[in-house]
Every structure is written in structure tokens, then in C-alpha cells.
């Protein structure tokens, strides 16, 4: 009797643990992505916008620490703070006052620098419409199994973000760019973080699936900067990014913290502005999305005990040197502009309108009939 109860207990325990293993295994593959990308953009230039560059570089450091390699990070910095003439500590960008943490260094790879950070380049990176001569480091080579983190910081307003004091990107443009990415299957899930004034207005117009967005302030609020450094003479960080980074310091590659924890970062008491987030377009429950799904590059490893037979190695093509000359391919440079297409462009099909003269004649006819019927004395009421 006792042996029977023991055996039944053992059986239930085994079944329960196997269910656990299945759950864990299920959870293992729940996110559906296989690689991670990050696009980090600082949109403002000039020395007094030091803090935006420090923001972006700090997020870059965190993302690298959690595993995303430089080849999968597109870093756009609009100005060079480290080598600015006004920097009392050249070749450094500090993110904590009293110069505790230098986020610049020789392992920082900036992909778009200076005047290359424009709205056009940003949209081209997102949508992938780059000229063929663009190097790989400047491309977002994501596929339909990529999770992308997009971080923007700079000066913004209600519905726009200012790029480098000369142009703006509107929230409609951004939403359309994400839709293009969705239709071209360039992402699996996308996390959008923006730290500017009135940042929530930038994600209002999103309409593509699998987008999650966070912003540092609501419409009508300003995002505030965190701490000035008196020796350097500028503000070093913005509040939201500062507390975001404090939160990320506790995340390691195997951490199980999920998005709900991220939404709690920087409450109003710390940030003064009210951070906002948007999850209605995200198909999974945010509680099941891990922080490392976007910020890190956690490799999924499947351990198996089975042996797998590899197919035959690739056979070498036989080369006939004897009688034929090998066909040589001619190589040429790719055209910068599709000149042949421009020259021989067919006129575009417009909608058909009746010819202009016809409309004029029609109205003249109507007027003549009118005056014939009712008499010329009405003419002076017109003129």
C-alpha cells in the first residue's frame, strides 16, 4: 500500500516536473526572435546639448554590455562632444557628475556622425533604402525575426523631433516608416524609447503591429535635465535616461525582468514629467516580454543528445581549362543615380482630365445662353 502511494507520488512528481520543463522550454521560445538590433540616435548638436550625446552613449554602453555587438548597433551622434574645443577634458564624455563615468572611448563605433545625422538618413536606415555603396556598418540588416530597439533623444515638440537645428521629423513620418518596416518584414518586435520634451506625441500615430513605445514626458510637459557638472559647465544627463540607466544597471543577460518593470522607471516624483508608454499594438502581454528581448542579445541555445547526419560535402565544379576560355564577368561600378532610368523615363500616367479649352468653352456657352434668355441688363450685376 505504502509502496503504491510512494510510486503514485513519484509519478505525479515526475509528470509535474516534466510539465515544468515543457513550460520552461515553451517560455524559452516564446518571444519568437532570433537576433537583436539597436538604432540609437542623438539628434541635437552644439555644446550646450552635451547631455543628449551623453544619454545616447550611456544607452549604447548598456546595450553593448548586455550583448548586442557593434555590428548590430547603428549609432548616430549629431555632434562631437569629446573633441569639442570647449571640453575641459578632451576625448571624454561624462555621464555622471564629478567625472565618475566616461562613456566615450576608443571602443565606441559611431556609424553616422556630424552632419550625416539627418531625417533622410534616419528614415533610410529604418526602411533599408540605402544606396548600394553604403557600408554594412551603416545599414540596419534586420529580418523578420529581429527585435529592434530604437532610442531617440534631442529636442522635440508636440508631434515632431528636431534634427540638428535645421529640420524636423514628424510623428506621422515615423509611423509610416515603421509601417514600411512591417510590410517589408524588417522586424519581429520593436521597442521605441524617446527622451525629449513632449515625447508621448511621437508615438501617438503608430499603427503597425508589434510596436511598444515609451516616452519621457506627456504632451505639454518638458523633459528635464538631471545634473549639471560645474567644472564642465553643462548638464550631463536627462532625468529619464538617468533613471533608465540606473534600472538597466541591475539587468544582466539572464535576468527575467519584464517590460512592466520598465514602465515603472522614473515616476513623477523623480522625473518631474510623467513618463508614458503604449502597448496596445504589442501582440504579446508586456509582462511576458523580457527586458533582454530588446536590450540584450541573448542567444538561444538548444541542447540535444541526438546525432545529426550531415549531407555530402559540396562537390567541386570541374573546371575545363583545356580548350575553352573561361567566361570572364565584366565588373563595373554601380551607378550613384539610376541615370538610364531617368533619361528614358516614361511619362507618368495621370488621371484623365478634360482638356482646358473645353471647360472654358463650356462656361462661355452657358453664360451666352443665360444672357440670351434673360437679357443683357443683368450683365451689370455681374461686373
Amino acid at each position: 500500500m505504502k509502496i503504491l502511494t510512494l510510486l503514485s507520488l513519484l509519478a505525479t512528481h515526475l509528470s509535474a516536473s516534466s510539465v515544468n520543463i515543457e513550460e520552461n522550454a515553451g517560455q524559452f521560445f516564446s518571444s519568437g526572435h532570433t537576433n537583436n538590433w539597436a538604432v540609437l540616435v542623438c539628434t541635437s548638436r552644439f555644446w550646450f546639448n552635451y547631455r543628449h550625446v551623453a544619454n545616447t552613449l550611456s544607452v549604447y554602453r548598456s546595450v553593448k554590455r548586455l550583448g548586442i555587438p557593434d555590428s548590430h548597433i547603428v549609432l548616430m551622434l549629431a555632434d562631437d562632444m569629446a573633441c569639442n574645443h570647449r571640453n575641459p577634458k578632451p576625448a571624454t564624455v561624462f555621464s555622471h557628475k564629478n567625472m565618475e563615468l566616461n562613456v566615450y572611448g576608443d571602443d565606441v563605433e559611431v556609424d553616422y556622425r556630424g552632419y550625416e545625422v539627418t531625417v533622410e538618413n534616419f528614415l533610410r536606415v529604418l526602411t533599408g533604402r540605402l544606396p548600394p555603396s553604403t557600408p554594412r556598418s551603416k545599414r540596419l540588416l534586420s529580418d523578420d525575426r529581429s527585435n529592434i530597439l530604437i532610442y531617440l533623444t534631442g529636442h522635440g515638440g508636440n508631434g515632431f523631433l528636431k534634427f540638428q537645428d535645421s529640420e524636423e521629423i514628424s510623428n506621422v513620418e515615423l509611423a509610416d516608416a515603421f509601417e514600411q518596416m512591417w510590410q517589408k518584414r524588417r522586424y519581429n518586435e520593436l521597442l521605441f524609447i524617446i527622451d525629449t520634451c513632449q515625447g508621448a506625441s511621437m508615438y501617438e500615430r503608430f499603427y503597425s503591429p508589434n510596436l511598444m513605445a515609451l516616452a519621457s514626458s506627456q504632451v505639454g510637459e518638458d523633459s528635464l535635465s538631471h545634473q549639471p557638472d560645474l567644472a564642465i559647465g553643462v548638464h550631463l544627463m536627462d532625468r529619464y535616461t538617468f533613471y533608465l540607466l540606473e534600472f538597466l544597471e541591475d539587468i544582466h543577460p539572464s535576468s527575467k525582468a519584464n517590460m512592466n518593470d520598465l514602465f515603472k522607471v522614473c515616476p513623477k516624483s523623480q522625473c518631474v514629467s510623467t513618463p508614458g508608454h503604449r502597448t496596445d499594438l504589442f501582440l504579446r502581454d508586456p509582462g511576458s516580454a523580457l527586458i533582454t528581448d530588446f536590450f540584450g542579445s541573448v542567444r538561444k541555445v538548444e541542447i540535444t543528445m541526438e546525432t545529426i547526419n550531415l549531407t555530402e560535402p559540396i562537390q567541386q565544379v570541374e573546371q575545363n581549362f583545356v580548350n575553352e576560355e573561361r567566361q570572364k564577368e565584366t565588373y563595373s561600378y554601380v551607378d550613384q543615380l539610376p541615370v538610364s532610368e531617368i533619361i528614358h523615363q516614361k511619362p507618368k500616367q495621370k488621371d484623365w482630365h478634360p482638356p482646358d479649352g473645353f471647360i472654358l468653352g463650356l462656361w462661355t456657352l452657358i453664360l451666352l445662353v443665360f444672357f440670351k434668355t434673360y437679357g443683357m441688363k443683368h450683365l451689370k450685376h455681374i461686373f
Partner: protein, 605 residues
């Protein structure tokens, strides 16, 4: 039937204006004066604020340590100055070079049109010494200037000492994005004019100077320092420059922000700020400060060495250290720190200061009135002139038709003769000073001034003589046409002056507009002649001198005031000859003839 307006309404409006012309004019005048006085009332002013994003807040750490050493350098400078009997050029060059600057000198010389009795100089020869601190990493495209004058006697030694101390401290920093030029100029304004002309390759005043060997980039901002004591109780900011031009308000805001941060007492026009704006004495204090600024701006002379920079679109101000009897004293280290903070903030500039106002009045250092608020005061006065013009519709055409050529001549003659008198007032005093000195026992300066007054008074006798030139007597309507022309002329003149130098335009309008509005040949002659002379530009200047001394709490007796008045006239003429100030030519060639036209109308027969 009119298309755009109702003729009946128009006629009603015109008849209203014609009937009530005098009362409306009086009301406008009162309103203009009341508006002007109301500008100093604190609820009508705005608090000053930094407009330039690049300069941001006062968020820098000032670490200048060497105030005492700077004072020691100042004492050395004083000793060498006494030994050299002027500017100790070699010592200055050696000291600046030892501090790591690139040092250059510039010689200049100038013969004044007549001796300057205030500063006791006639043939001026001097040397400017300046050292350039090159920015460590930046291209040499922009520069900042810090200058201290080399004054005779014991003045401004500490200023040069602080300048050299700051030069040494600045040389050790790596964050300068602009070149900093440390300039010690001799003979204050004359030396500064020579340096600026040499720097910008212009020669507008006919001075003789040697070309500059070394140059920085284009100058973004300049500060001039005047410090004559080891400790100060307050720092005074002087803004008014040549021809009443003012630097960008952001420079004053920067100074005020640092004064508040460091805790130094700061003043403008030498008057402290008060918090009780709702009491009578508080309000009158603000009015006095504003009136001082108005009078200084109207005089058109540069009130500090910075005044000459403004013409080249370089924002500049003078900081004066004042040592009065107060308990809390500020030492040289603190002054050095304040200047260091200001220069670090100016270093962050990316473009010239342009975000804040260029035209403003300051009833105190923390409040200002911008051009949009103070211009209606002048507008109300100019409105009076336009109302008087509208009083005489269709006059000119009927006059020309009925009276013909002799009529035109009788109007043209006073115009030409008045302007010739103006030209005489402009040219004769300087040209005839030798003849005057031969015949009268006076010095050259006195000769010039007294000739000017003589020509001015001789103009008063003109109407009795002009009519002898004309064949017949002046026609009945001739004076009306002359008055129309004169009123329009005055309106245009005052309008243009007020745009460039509001204070000058307003003060002239205050006295000339009543004259223009109410003078006719029919008013009682003796009384109105007396009133016209009282309201003429020369008497306005006399009253202004007395008022200015009153406002500065240094009232003078009548005799002293008269001597001061004569020196003001001579300084005005000298300013025009030396720096290109426009007040003297404006008054002599344009305002005085205009006033003479009205004098002619008064005595029209």
C-alpha cells in the same frame, strides 16, 4: 459715393480734428510725457532673463585663485608707470610674454582740433599694448577682448593688475574656443579708437596709427575694466556707447546673473536697486535711474572705453569698481572669479549675441523696457505734429496758384538762410579759433565754445534781416506754408533721430514740439520769443546739464553749471572730430535750422 470710406464720416472726423485741434494736441503731449514717466513703474517693466541658449545658466565653477598676486602686479605697474611717465611699454610687453601671450604694440598719434581742457591734452601720442591668448585647439576665427585703460596718475592700476592675473590663469585652461585679447590702451578713448581702426582696417577719423602686427579672429564680445582700489563695495555696469548705441541686453543679463550667483553688489548708473516699487521714493528712484540712462544716451558720447566697440557690432560693456562707505567689501579674487565666469559663458557662444534686445531702457539692473514699450511715448509727441499738419488742408497748392513765384521765394529764403546759419554754426567755431584767440584774451577751447554760442545767438537776429532781402513784404499766407514745411521737416527729423537714438529724439521732441505746434505770427511776440528761446536746443542742453548733476546727487551752483555747460559743448565738438559722434552735426546742421524756421515764423511780417 465713396468706395472705401464714407465721405460724411470723413468730413465729420476732419471737422472734429479742426475744432478740437489744440485740446487734442495738449492731451497728446500730456499722454506722451505720462507714458514716459510710467515706463519706470515696476509693474510695467519686465524682469531681465537670459535669451541666448548657448549661454544658459551661470552653471560654471569659477576657480580664479590669484587676486592678491594680481594686486601686486598692479602695484608694479603703477611704479613703472610713474618711472616711464606714461605707458610702461617694455615692462608690459615683458610681463605679458612671461604669461605666455603673443604680445604686440601699436603706436598712434593725433592732433586734436583744439586743446581738450578736461583731460589736458592737445597733441596726443601713445602706444597700445595687447597680448593674444590663442585658443589651444580651436581655429583662430573668433575672439573675445578684455581691456583696461592705462590712465595717468593713480587710476586703474588694479584693473591692469587683474587683467594680467586673469591672463595668467586663463593661459592654463584648455577649454577656450576663442582667442582672448588682453588690451591695455593709452589715452583711453583715443587709444581704443586707434586700436579698433587698426584691427578692422578702417580709418574714419583721420588718426595716425601703425598697423597691427597680430590679430585674432572677429571679435564676438568685449569687456572693459575700470578698477582703482584694492577692494570694492559694488560693481557698476556702463552700457551707453557712441551715438547712444547700446550692447545686446544679454550682456547685461549675463553680468547681473553672475553678480547674483557670486553675491557681489551690482548697480547701473551708480544707483542701487530698491525693492519698494510701490512707494513714492522707490518709484522716484527708478525714474532717476532711467532718466540718467536717457540723458547719457542722448549725449551721444561713449561713457566707457567699450563705447567704441559697438559701432563694429561688437557687444561691449564697461565694468567699474566703486569703493564707497559700506561694510561689505569684495576683494580682487571675487572680481576675478566674476570675470572668469562671464568669459567662460561667452566662450560657449556659437554666434554673435542677437537673441535679446538691442534697444531698451533700464530703470534698474533687473528690469528693462523694450523698444515696443517706450516708442509710443515718442509716437504720441510726433502725433501732435501730424495733427497740426492736417489742420491746413490744400494749403500748398492754393498758395502756389495764387501767389506764384515771389511767394515761393519768400518761403525758400528763410529755409536757405537758416541752413546756412546751421552750416556756419558747424564750421566757424573750429576754423576761426586762431582769429578769435588773436583778438580776445581767451584760450582756444573757450574761443571755440564762445564762437559757437555767438553764431547761435546771431541766428536769433536773422528774421529782422531776412525781410530786407525780399523785394516786398512776406505775403499773408507765406508763413502758413513755411509752417507746414517746417512742421513736416521737424516730424521727419525727430522721427529719424528717435529711431537711432530714442533718448535724443525724445528730449528734442519734448521741447521742440510745443514750439512747432503753437507758434504763429499772431501770438504775443515778447512772451513767445522768450518761451521759444527757453525751449531752444541750447537752453535744453543747459537745463539738461543741471538736471544731470541733480540726478547724480551732485548739484552745482549756477556758475559751476555754466562752466560745465561750456565744457559739455567743447566735448561735444571734440567727440565729433575724434570718434565720429553725430550729435553735434545733427544739432548744428538740422535741429538748429529747423528751430530758426519757427523763429522766422514768429517774426513774420
Amino acid at each position: 459715393m465713396g468706395l472705401l470710406s464714407d465721405p460724411n464720416r470723413r468730413r465729420a472726423l476732419i471737422s472734429l480734428l479742426t475744432r478740437l485741434n489744440a485740446p487734442i494736441c495738449v492731451v497728446c503731449y500730456m499722454a506722451g510725457v505720462a507714458w514716459f514717466m510710467g515706463l519706470a513703474f515696476e509693474p510695467f517693466t519686465l524682469r531681465t532673463y537670459m535669451s541666448e541658449n548657448a549661454m544658459g545658466s551661470t552653471m560654471v565653477e569659477e576657480r580664479f585663485p590669484a587676486g592678491e598676486r594680481a594686486l601686486g602686479t598692479g602695484r608694479e605697474f603703477s611704479a613703472h608707470k610713474k618711472k616711464a611717465g606714461g605707458m610702461p611699454v617694455d615692462w608690459l610687453v615683458k610681463t605679458m610674454q612671461s604669461r605666455g601671450l603673443e604680445v604686440f604694440t601699436q603706436r598712434f598719434s593725433r592732433r586734436l582740433p583744439f586743446p581738450d581742457e578736461d583731460k589736458e591734452r592737445y597733441m596726443v601720442k601713445g602706444t597700445n599694448v595687447y597680448g593674444i591668448l590663442r585658443a589651444p585647439r580651436a581655429p583662430r576665427t573668433e575672439a573675445l577682448v578684455l581691456s583696461a585703460p592705462c590712465s595717468p596718475g593713480d587710476d586703474n592700476n588694479q584693473a591692469v593688475g587683474v587683467l594680467l592675473g586673469l591672463a595668467q590663469y586663463f593661459r592654463n585652461q584648455v577649454f577656450w574656443a576663442k582667442d582672448i585679447i588682453f588690451l591695455v590702451n593709452e589715452h583711453d578713448l583715443i587709444g581704443m579708437q586707434a586700436w579698433l581702426e587698426g584691427y578692422h582696417h578702417t580709418n574714419t577719423t583721420g588718426m595716425d596709427w601703425s598697423p597691427l602686427q597680430g590679430r585674432g579672429g572677429s571679435i564676438q564680445a568685449a569687456l572693459s575694466l575700470e578698477l582703482s582700489s584694492d577692494v570694492v563695495t559694488s560693481l557698476d555696469l556702463v552700457l551707453e556707447g557712441l551715438n547712444g548705441q547700446l550692447p545686446n541686453l544679454d550682456l547685461a543679463n549675463l553680468f547681473y546673473a553672475f553678480c547674483q550667483k557670486i553675491g557681489v553688489l551690482c548697480t547701473t548708473q551708480g544707483k542701487l536697486q530698491r525693492n519698494d516699487w510701490d512707494s513714492v521714493s522707490g518709484y522716484s528712484h527708478a525714474v532717476q535711474t532711467m532718466m540718467l540712462m536717457v540723458m547719457k544716451q542722448a549725449s551721444g558720447r561713449p561713457w566707457g572705453d567699450h563705447g567704441l566697440f559697438l559701432r563694429y557690432h561688437i557687444e561691449a560693456a564697461t565694468i567699474k569698481g566703486i569703493n564707497s562707505f559700506r561694510q561689505y567689501k569684495t576683494d580682487a579674487t571675487t572680481i576675478g572669479r566674476l570675470l572668469e565666469g562671464m568669459y567662460r559663458k561667452l566662450n560657449n557662444l556659437l554666434e554673435r549675441l542677437h537673441q535679446s534686445y538691442f534697444f531698451y531702457l533700464m530703470p534698474s539692473l533687473s528690469h528693462f523696457v523694450s523698444i515696443g514699450y517706450y516708442m509710443p511715448a515718442f509716437g504720441l509727441l510726433a502725433l501732435i505734429l501730424l495733427l497740426r499738419v492736417s489742420f491746413q488742408p490744400r494749403l500748398l497748392t492754393t498758395y502756389l496758384l495764387t501767389d506764384g513765384v515771389p511767394g515761393v521765394l519768400s518761403v525758400l529764403t528763410p529755409l536757405v538762410i537758416s541752413h546756412l546759419t546751421g552750416v556756419a554754426l558747424y564750421t566757424l567755431p573750429i576754423h576761426f579759433q586762431e582769429i578769435a584767440v588773436e583778438h580776445f584774451p581767451v584760450s582756444e577751447t573757450e574761443a571755440v565754445v564762445l564762437t559757437a554760442i555767438a553764431v547761435y545767438t546771431a541766428g536769433l537776429a536773422l528774421p529782422h534781416n531776412t525781410h530786407r532781402l525780399l523785394t516786398g513784404r512776406g505775403t499773408e499766407n507765406g508763413w502758413k506754408v513755411l509752417k507746414l514745411v517746417a512742421v513736416l521737416y521737424l516730424a521727419v527729423l525727430l522721427g529719424c533721430t528717435a529711431l537711432i537714438n530714442f533718448s535724443l529724439g525724445f528730449i528734442l521732441a519734448l521741447t521742440l514740439v510745443p514750439v512747432a505746434a503753437f507758434v504763429t505770427p499772431d501770438v504775443p511776440k515778447a512772451l513767445s520769443a522768450f518761451i521759444m528761446v527757453i525751449l531752444s536746443p541750447a537752453c535744453t542742453l543747459l537745463f539738461s546739464v543741471f538736471l544731470f548733476q541733480e540726478l547724480q546727487e551732485m548739484p552745482v551752483s549756477f556758475l559751476d553749471g555754466w562752466m560745465l555747460y561750456l565744457s559739455v559743448i567743447s566735448q561735444g565738438i571734440l567727440d565729433h572730430a575724434l570718434y565720429g559722434s553725430l550729435v553735434y552735426p545733427l544739432v548744428a546742421l538740422l535741429v538748429y535750422p529747423c528751430w530758426l524756421l519757427f523763429w522766422n515764423i514768429l517774426f513774420w511780417k
